[in-house]
């Protein structure tokens, strides 16, 4: 029996950007309901491609406006411990029973435009300067809650690994399949931290163990949990929700 596999003419990696683009278009197309039809007499109703393109262009415009409004010096409001929301709401793109446990021999990989690409153990991260915060986590759905996190300021970490801080993006990859990316200015904002603790205890799996991003100047879906890799890059890599139509900058 022959076990020889026929090599496909096109690899997944080659068509990935196109696939993402198609997926994105499809999801924005589902944005058109009866309400949209009544508002859009005169548009191309057979494909809505013009409307999709217009909405996408406006989201890109909004991203530019948001970047211009952002100031690295402006801090998110902080709260007293008495203001912490309890119980704290779990949120992910999956249900709580599907939370992934931390893999054995977990390390944080570092890649892209950095001088030192050695992976980081939890112990090494715990030895870096730590900083706590009690801030409001605002979900894109509208609800919000006040939580307490502490960990390594991302700016400290990026300098420690010799990151090119003139690069455009910092990309985060998670072992639960999630991923996101943020602009460098927001990455260097002093309240943007790689959190190790939640409510003064090491992160539990549902809160993003062993390491998560906590960025109070962006909507909640940007605070990626269960990190496994960080990459400094000039390439736009989007994100799990961003590729489906959430605005990428997502600043608050």
């Amino acid at each position: 029996m022959s076990t020889q596999r026929i090599k496909p003419a096109v690899s997944m990696a080659e068509i990935k950007p196109e696939l993402e683009g198609l997926r994105r278009r499809g999801l924005l197309r589902s944005a058109l309901t009866l309400g949209a039809l009544t508002m859009l007499t005169g548009c191309d109703l057979s494909t809505h491609s013009g409307v999709d393109a217009a909405l996408e262009a406006m989201l890109r415009f909004d991203d530019r406006v948001q970047a211009a409004l952002f100031s690295r010096k402006r801090l998110a409001e902080t709260y007293p411990a008495s203001a912490i929301t309890r119980p704290f709401r779990f949120n992910a793109y999956y249900a709580e029973w599907q939370v992934r446990l931390v893999p054995d021999n977990w390390v944080l990989n570092v890649g892209g435009l950095v001088a030192d690409k050695r992976p980081w153990t939890l112990q090494a991260l715990m030895a870096l300067p730590q900083q706590g915060q009690i801030t409001r986590h605002i979900c894109i759905e509208g609800w919000s809650q006040i939580g307490q996190w502490s960990g390594v300021p991302l700016s400290v970490f990026l300098r420690r690994v010799g990151a090119d801080t003139s690069a455009r993006y910092v990309y985060f990859k998670c072992f639960d399949g999630y991923f996101t990316s943020i602009d460098m200015a927001s990455a260097l904002q002093p309240q943007t931290i790689l959190a190790l603790d939640f409510e003064e205890k090491p992160l539990a799996p549902q809160w993003g163990a062993p390491l998560r991003l906590r960025i109070p100047t962006k909507l909640g879906f940007k605070s990626a949990k269960n990190l496994e890799a960080i990459e400094v890059t000039n390439k736009y890599l989007g994100g799990y929700w961003e590729n489906q139509g959430y605005d990428w900058f997502a600043g608050v």
């Binding site: 944005a31 100031s71 759905e141 605005d247």
Partner: protein, 203 residues
């Protein structure tokens, strides 16, 4: 004698751009509300714009620019042309009481190109409501970058509540406004084509 139009062309154009922009904002806003309802109900899906939260936000954050530009143009025009001074003078309480009594007993005159005290109250009120809506909207869009604005409204959750409540005020205005247009259909024509004002300024 050449009489002025009931509504200048600029007002008519800005009115209908405003209708479209506000329609997009309200119907997409209902979809956004449905993602995390703070009251014990959701808006029916057929009445919403966007299909899902991401689509609704794309509409909301697009139409806001149209509403913003239309609103700024209207305010500039309103002050510069004398439209506000001439037509939307804040009514005295006694005038409102008198005209409201007349309106409720169907005796209030509806003259094209001239607003009675109840109209002035409602039109002035909805302009204030839209301004409040833009401000609370900016506060919940950027509660950190516009922290002072969110603080003015008592913080993010309260600003979000005011944004929702103001939407209900605007929708209530629209219902009354459309009901009045149904009762006085010639007012609709005057907001589309050039129709002379029915009375000359006497005040």
């Amino acid at each position: 004698m050449h009489r002025r139009p009931a509504h200048p062309v600029a007002i008519r154009v800005m009115h209908w751009i405003g209708v479209y922009a506000m329609g997009c904002m309200i119907f997409s806003g209902w979809e956004i509300y449905n993602a995390s309802p703070s009251l014990p109900f959701v808006f029916p899906a057929w009445a919403t714009l966007g299909g899902w939260l991401g689509g609704a936000l794309a509409w909301h954050l697009s139409a806001m620019w149209l509403l913003f530009a239309d609103g700024i143009a209207y305010l500039v025009y309103g002050f510069a042309s004398g439209h506000f001074r001439r037509d939307l003078k804040p009514p005295r309480p006694t005038e409102v009481v008198h005209d409201l009594g007349a309106a409720l007993s169907f005796r209030l005159k509806h003259d094209l190109g001239h607003y009675n005290a109840v109209q002035r109250l409602l039109y002035g009120g909805v302009i204030a409501a839209v301004i409040l809506q833009v401000m609370t909207g900016l506060a919940i869009w950027k509660p950190v970058q516009f922290g002072w604005l969110a603080g003015l409204f008592g913080g993010y959750p309260i600003a979000r509540g005011i944004h929702l409540a103001t939407m209900f005020c605007i929708v209530a205005f629209v219902l009354v406004h459309v009901a009045m247009v149904v009762m006085f259909p010639r007012t609709l024509k005057s907001m589309i084509v050039t129709v002379p004002a029915e009375i000359e300024e006497s005040r």
